[in-house]
Amino acid sequence: MQRMEGLSKLSGREQYVDDLPVPGCLWGATVRSPAARGRIREIRFSEEFDWDEFVIVDAGDIPASNTIYLMEEDQPVLADGVVRHVHEPVLLLAHPSRDMARRGATAVEVIVDPEPAVLDFRLPPDPAQIQYGVDNVLKHLRIEKGDVEKALAAAPIVIEGVYETGSQEHVYLETQGMLAWEEDGVITVQGSMQCPYYIVDAFKKALGRDESQIRIVQTPTGGGFGGKEEFPSGIALHAALLALKAGNPVKLVYERGEDMAATTKRHPSRVRHRTAVDEDGRLLAQDIEVLLDGGAYVTLSPVVLSRAIIHAGGPYQCDNVRIDGRAQLSNSVPFGAFRGFGAPQSLFAVERHMDVIADRLGMDPVALRRRNLIRDGDSTATGQIIEDGADRIEVLDTALRLSDYEAKIESHTEFNRTSQTKRRGIGLATFYHGAGFTGGGEVYLDSAAHVAGLPDGGVEVRTASVEMGQGALTIFAQVVAARLGLSVEHIRIGAPDTAIVPNSGPTVASRTSMIVAGLVERACDDLRDQVRRSAAEVAEPAGELPEPANTASADAAVQPLEGDTMVRAITGWHARNPGQELIGKARYIKPENIEWDDETYRGDAYGSFAWAAYVADVEIDLLTFGVEVRDFVAVQEVGKVLNETLARGQIQGGVVQGIGWALLEDFVWRDGAMLNNQLTNYIIPTSDDVPPIRVAFLEVPYAFGTWGCKGIGELPMDGPAPAILNAVAMALGVQATSVPLTPERLMLLVHPELERAG
C-alpha cells in the first residue's frame, strides 16, 4: 500500500500547525534564562516597547502546580525565582504581530545572580553544585549476572576501554509549535507531537483541570525522532497559559535557532569497559560502567539509562556481566528522548570495544563476533533467554556477503599500500534493539485502540498514535484493509484527538506497528463480531460475514470482500441502530511468556529484539582527514516487513542520522548551552554526504507482533557510528573512541604531536 497521506505531503497540501489559518490569533514568544544556574534578581522590560500591547505570563499565572508532569515533578513550567539551565523558560509574551512578539522577547532582560553550575557531567560534583539528592545522581541502575569479580581475577586477558559520545540535535524539519485556545471551558491545543496523552497528564497537573476540560489534537508532525515525545508538554502548556490569559487563540512556533538551542537533545555518554577474554576471543566477563549526562532536570533520563544499560553488553553470550549505570545532573538544557533512547550510546561503546579486543588479540573482528554472538538458548545480560528462531550468524553472513567484505579487506589493504593521499577501510557492527516499552512498561501503559464503523459504511481508526513520517497511518490502513476486507477508500485514520481517541500509549520505542497496529487488528475483529451479532438477530445476510483471511502474512494480497460486504454490513448496522455509535475496541494483553523484575533488573527486558549487522566502507583523505562513507550495507532480522517502502525508508533514514552523529554533528557548548544552534554550523548530512544505503531484511515472524513484525524505527540509529569508526580503525590503525569523529579529532589521533604543538 502506498503512503496514505503521501500525495497530500508531496503537493504541499498537508497542513502543519504553522499552516493553520487562525484569524485574530496572537503570536507567542518565550523569554529565557541567560544563566546556567542562579537566582533571578530582576526582570527588566525595555522602555522602547509599549508593554500594554503584550500579554505577559509568568509563574504566578499557573493555575495549579508549576511542574511539567512526567516521571518526576522537578521541572517547572516557568522558572520561579531560580534557573537551572541557559534557555530555561522564564516569561511568556503574546502579541498580535508575530514579528513584535519575537522582538519583544529579546527586549526583556532576565538578571540572574549566578550559583555554582555543573558543566561537565563526568566530574564528581562539589557540595555547592548539588541540586538533586545528595550526589546529583538522577538515576542509578545495575544489572548483574554471574560473578564478574571472580571471572576477571581468573581471566588470562583483561582489556579495558573508555568510549564517549556527544549529544545530537533532532533537526526534525518542522520546528516545535502549538496553537491553543479556550472554548466553553475546554482548553484545546493543536500541534506537533508524538504523545497526546502526555500533554493531557501535564495539563491536569499544571492547570488543575480534569480530562473533560482538556482536548489535545495532533497536527501532521514534520518529524519527531523523540524530540516531540516529552518536550511538547512544556510548549503546549506555554501556549495554553498565554491563551487563557489573553482570552484569545495563541500560536507559539519556534524559529530554528530557538528550537535547536532550547529543546531536548540526545544524552551525551561515557562508557567504560573492562572485559575478560580467553585467547580464542571468548567473552568471559564484561564489567561495564555507563554514565549519561541527564542535563538540568530528570525528564526521561531514568528510562533512557535503563535502555542504555540493557543494551550495553551487546548481542553476545557472556556468563558474567555487571553493568552499572548512572544518569548525572548537569546544568545543561535537559537531555531527552532521541531515536534509540540510550542504546546507540552503549552499543557504540561495546561495538567499538569488540574491535579493540580483536585488535589486541590479533584476531579478525568478524571471527570474534562469530564466536560470541547469541545463539538460540543463550541469554542476555538480564538473563533473558533468546529463543526466537532468528539466526544472528546468518544476519552477519548476509551483511558480509552483500558488502563484499572479505574481498574489500584485501583490495583496501592493497590500496593503502600504494595510495599516497588516501586510506580505505571497512568496518562492522553487530547489534540488537529491543522494541516496545521495557519490562512491564507495556502492561503499565494498558494501551487501547478503537475502530469506528461509520454510517456511510466506512471505517475510522482511532488511536493516539501519531504519523510523524514513519508511516503509522499506512500500516493501520493496511491492517484494517486486510482484516475487514475493505478497499482503501473506505478507510479513514482519525486525527489523534484526545476528545475522541483512546490512549494507545505514546508514539515512541518502535512500538506502533508492533503493538498498536495489533490492537487495531483486534478492534476490527470486535467490530466484525458486533456487526455479525446484530445482523444475526434479524437474520440478515451480514450475520454470515466470513472470517478474515489468514493475515499472518503481509505478503498475502489484500482482497476486498466481494462487493464490499463489510461496507453493506456496517450501513445495515446503522440502519438498525440509528444514532448509535459502532465502535470495535481492543486493549493490550501481555504475552504470557514475558517476566520482568524491575527491582533486580532480571528477566525479559523486551518482548522481542531485532538483530542487525551493518558494514561501513570508508575512504579517508590524508590531507583533510575527512571521512567519506563510500558504501553502507544494513542487514536486519525484523520479524516481518509490513510495507517494504516504509521499512526501507526507516532504515535508510536512521542510518543517515547515525552517519551524521558519527562524523558531522558536533556541538560547541558554553555554560551548558549550544552555541552553534544553526544549520549553518551544526552540520547534518546532505544527499551528497552519504552513499546509497543498501538495505536487506531477514524475516522470522515474532508471535506477538502484528503480522509477525518487530519494531524497527530506532534500530538503524545504533549501528552506523561503531561500524564507521571500526572502518577508520582498519584504514588508519588508530582506535578512535569518541563520536563525532570530526576531521580535526581524527587528525589529532593520527598526529598526536600536533595537539602538543597547539
Binding site: Q2, R3, E5, G6, L7, S8, K9, L10, S11, G12, R13, E14, Q15, Y16, D18, D19, P21, E47, E48, F49, D50, E53, S97, R98, D99, M100, R103, H170, V171, Y172, L173, E174, P220, T221, G222, G223, F225, R256, G257, G469, G471, T645, L646, R648, G649, Q652, G653, G654, V656, Q657, Q678, L679, T680, I684, T686, S687, D688, V690, P692, I693
Partner: protein, 160 residues
C-alpha cells in the same frame, strides 16, 4: 511606541507572476518572499525549515531557477515569475509516491520544487550528479535514497 521598534509604517506594493497568474501584493518592505507567500497570500505549501538558506524547505522557482524564498526580500520578485508547490499537478508525482520520497513531509515541497527544476533541465545531469544537485535540500527522514531514486525514475519517465 518608539520609532526604533515600530514596523509596518510604510507598505510597498509590487506585481509579479505567481503560478502563472499576475498578482499584486502589498507588504512591509522587510518581508521575505516566504512571509509574503505564507502569511499574506496564504500559500502555506512552502515551508520554513531554518530561515537562513541552509535547508531548502522553502524552495520556490524564480524565473525557473530554485531559490530559498527565506533569503529573498519580496520586492526583488517585482515583474518576475514565481512558481510554488501549489503550481504542481499532483498527477505528476506518482514516482515520488511510489519511491518513498516523502516521510514527514516538511522538507517535501522544497524537494519537489528542486526536482522539478532538474526534470525541466535534464542537461544538468551532464555536469552534475543528482546527489550534488539535491544537496541544497536537507531531509532528516529518508536518508535521501527515496528522493534520489524517485527523481531518477521521473527522469526515465520524462524521457520515454
Amino acid at each position: 511606541m518608539n520609532a526604533a521598534v515600530e514596523r509596518g509604517g510604510t507598505m510597498i506594493s509590487i506585481e509579479f507572476t505567481l503560478n502563472g497568474d499576475t498578482v499584486s501584493v502589498e507588504f512591509d518592505p522587510r518581508d521575505r518572499l516566504l512571509d509574503t507567500l505564507r502569511y499574506t497570500l496564504g500559500l502555506t505549501g512552502t515551508k520554513e525549515g531554518c530561515g537562513e538558506g541552509e535547508c531548502g524547505a522553502c524552495t520556490v522557482l524564480i524565473d525557473g531557477l530554485p531559490v530559498d524564498s527565506c533569503l529573498v526580500p519580496t520586492y526583488q520578485v517585482r515583474g518576475r515569475r514565481v512558481d510554488t508547490i501549489e503550481s504542481v499537478d499532483g498527477g505528476t508525482l506518482g514516482a515520488f509516491l511510489e519511491g518513498g520520497a516523502t516521510q514527514c513531509g516538511a522538507c517535501t515541497p522544497g524537494v519537489v520544487m528542486t526536482a522539478r527544476w532538474i526534470l525541466a533541465n535534464p542537461d544538468l545531469r551532464r555536469t552534475h550528479r543528482l546527489r550534488e544537485l539535491m544537496a541544497g535540500n536537507l531531509c532528516r527522514c529518508t536518508g535521501y535514497d527515496g528522493i534520489i531514486d524517485s527523481i531518477e525514475e521521473g527522469l526515465k519517465e520524462s524521457q520515454s
